[in-house]
């Protein structure tokens, strides 16, 4: 008999959206949005879409919260009501949103070299535009790119991915459908050192699965890191090309001016 429930992993080893167990969804990065910010990034993992804008380091707006030896990181998250199925408006004080912001802050505090900017503040604004599972992972990956675009010094990239387990089979990069059914966790890793800056679990996960998922998430982080780095370097190359055009033109113009003066 056909059950009404969608099969998470069918006998052929495919998931409900046609992926294999360890296959990640399509990732896109776009750094061209939000020209008014110091750095921004729009990242999609499949249908999940997050936009992050970074401002700073800049003068701290709340003087009482400034630290004399390092910069403070301020994260503000918002979830668009249209981003999910149940069109619920979440205010700024909503517990889910505050928790998302707190987790992003905790993830990046050990990675950003805040001691270089005493008394300053780095503002990170996270906007969730579409959710289909893995909102935290998308937000963390977008924040990494946005911080790099803003020229904020980081000790390393932070690459996040969700992992879950169906029966005994671990899976990566869960969709909303899978997230609602499976025990899962989000892991943010730093590829150079292999250290983790965040492991977040909201459901109970069997201890035997935990180690395997953690290892897989580390490997997936390395894959995401490669993609991120390629995008960042391509953008930097584009900026450099513009700079070199300008250098050539200004040099030529200077020589023209010298000839005219003679």
């Amino acid at each position: 008999m056909m059950s009404l429930r969608i099969e998470i992993l069918n006998e052929g080893g495919f998931r409900s959206d046609g992926r294999r167990q360890y296959e990640l969804r399509e990732i896109t990065f776009d750094s061209t949005t939000q020209a008014s910010s110091d750095g921004s990034a729009r990242v999609t993992h499949g249908l999940t879409e997050v936009l992050v804008s970074v401002f700073g380091p800049r003068e701290a707006r709340v003087r009482s919260q400034t630290l004399h030896d390092r910069a403070t990181i301020h994260v503000e998250a918002s979830i668009a009501p249209l981003s999910t199925g149940d069109r619920r408006r979440r205010g700024r004080g909503d517990k889910r949103i505050l928790e998302l912001a707190a987790m992003i802050k905790a993830t990046f505090e050990p990675v950003v070299q805040t001691s270089l900017y005493p008394r300053s503040q780095i503002d990170i604004f996270v906007q969730v535009l579409q959710q289909d599972g893995g909102v935290l992972q998308a937000a963390i990956n977008a924040t990494t790119i946005a911080l790099i675009n803003a020229g904020v010094p980081l000790t390393d990239y932070v690459c996040a991915v969700t992992g879950g387990a169906h029966a005994a089979a671990p899976m990566l990069d869960l969709t909303a459908l899978e997230e609602s059914d499976l025990p899962h966790m989000t892991v943010a890793s730093m590829p150079r050192s292999g250290r983790l800056t965040l492991v977040s679990m909201e459901t109970r996960l069997h201890i035997d699965r935990f180690e395997e998922i953690l290892r897989l998430a580390g490997e997936a982080g390395a894959v995401i890191h490669k993609e991120m780095r390629a995008v960042v370097k391509e953008r930097t190359k584009g900026l450099l090309e513009g700079m070199s055009i300008g250098l050539r033109v200004s040099k030529a113009a200077e020589e023209d001016a010298m000839v005219e003066n003679e």
Binding site: E26, I148, G151, P153, E219, V231, G246, S250, A253
Partner: protein, 317 residues
């Protein structure tokens, strides 16, 4: 096996070549030759050994390695290795010309937003007071600081010194500096402004340009040298005035055209110098394009192409 697919937004981008470059960079035999001077690095990438080199800005040391902390170009001066980011906040140096906006009036000082990591400080003792350049400041001056600069006022100043926490102190003790009026502010990334012989430029169309090293650019109506306030004595009324002069339509058009040219150049990451702006301005006049059209993508591309090819035609000789 973990598989991922990426849409890079640009079909011409070849993922393979990107990886090959990356493999080369991972070579531990690091030699700083002329070619590698333009090498792009990004956070967490090992640059060189910390035994042989000293770490500079944009890097940190972990064990035996010097590691990049920002994405940008590796630069080397003798034993010092730095990574210069292409998009970052303004890093002030003493003597820099900056344009700023007053954010706060405090006892005996103003706070100025100058696109740096902290607001700059403009002391009451670092501005020209009415009634002679040599005058000492009085208690009455402290009470009427808003008569000189108010919140939101724009000013051009020079970086005078730094405080212990790295905040910069400005001064406007020259007739060239002071409050800005009769114009428009354009903001570009600070790396696009290079140090020039003069940051005050006059374009032939009756437009003055002030290129602040912090990425703020002021475009205003041209003021003839003999009309400049404060040449004969010091006229506080005129220097701290909040009123614009009459600006005719032709000048307004020219100001708008220059500001759109600068926006177009900045959107393509082309450094802003007086020579480039002048060249682009001549091109815009030749094309007889509408001022607002300069902001269109294809017009901006044509502008960049025009100033590049012109340079190639005339050649460096």
């Amino acid at each position: 096996m973990i598989i991922s697919s990426v849409d890079r937004r640009r079909p011409d981008a070849d993922v393979r070549t990107g990886e090959d470059v990356y493999m080369e960079e991972e070579d531990d035999a690091f030699e700083m030759t002329a070619e590698s001077a333009m090498k792009i690095t990004s956070p967490g990438e090992s640059i060189t050994s910390s035994r042989a080199f000293m770490r500079g800005h944009g890097t940190y040391v972990d064990g035996d390695e010097v590691i990049a902390s920002v994405t940008g170009v590796i630069e080397r001066v003798n034993k010092l290795v730095t990574v210069r980011a292409l998009r970052t906040r303004y890093n002030p140096e003493v003597g820099d010309l900056v344009i700023g906006r007053i954010t706060e009036v405090q006892p005996r000082r103003w706070k100025v937003d100058a696109n740096a990591r902290q607001d700059a400080v403009l002391m009451l003792s670092s501005v020209n007071l009415p009634g002679g350049v040599q005058r000492r400041k009085l208690e009455s001056d402290e009470l009427q600081m808003r008569n000189f600069f108010e919140e939101g006022d724009l000013l051009v100043a020079e970086v005078q010194a730094f405080f212990a926490d790295g905040a910069m102190s400005l001064h406007t003790r020259s007739l060239k500096y002071g409050k800005l009026r009769n114009g428009q502010l354009v903001s570009v990334p600070p790396v696009l402004i290079r140090r020039l012989k003069s940051h005050f430029c006059s374009l032939p169309s009756g437009v003055d340009l002030i290129l602040g090293l912090n990425g703020y650019i002021w475009i205003s109506k041209h003021v003839r040298d003999d009309e400049r306030e404060g040449e004969e004595g010091f006229d506080a009324e005129a220097v701290y005035s909040n009123r614009n002069d009459d600006i005719d339509d032709a000048t307004r058009n020219a100001i708008a055209r220059v500001s759109n040219i600068i926006r177009a150049l900045a959107s393509r990451s082309v450094p802003i110098t007086d020579a480039i702006v002048l060249e682009a301005y001549e091109w815009a006049i030749e094309q007889d394009a509408d001022v607002k059209d300069l902001l269109l993508e294809d017009v901006a591309d044509a502008l960049i192409a025009a100033i590049t090819t012109k340079e190639e035609l005339t050649g460096p000789w």
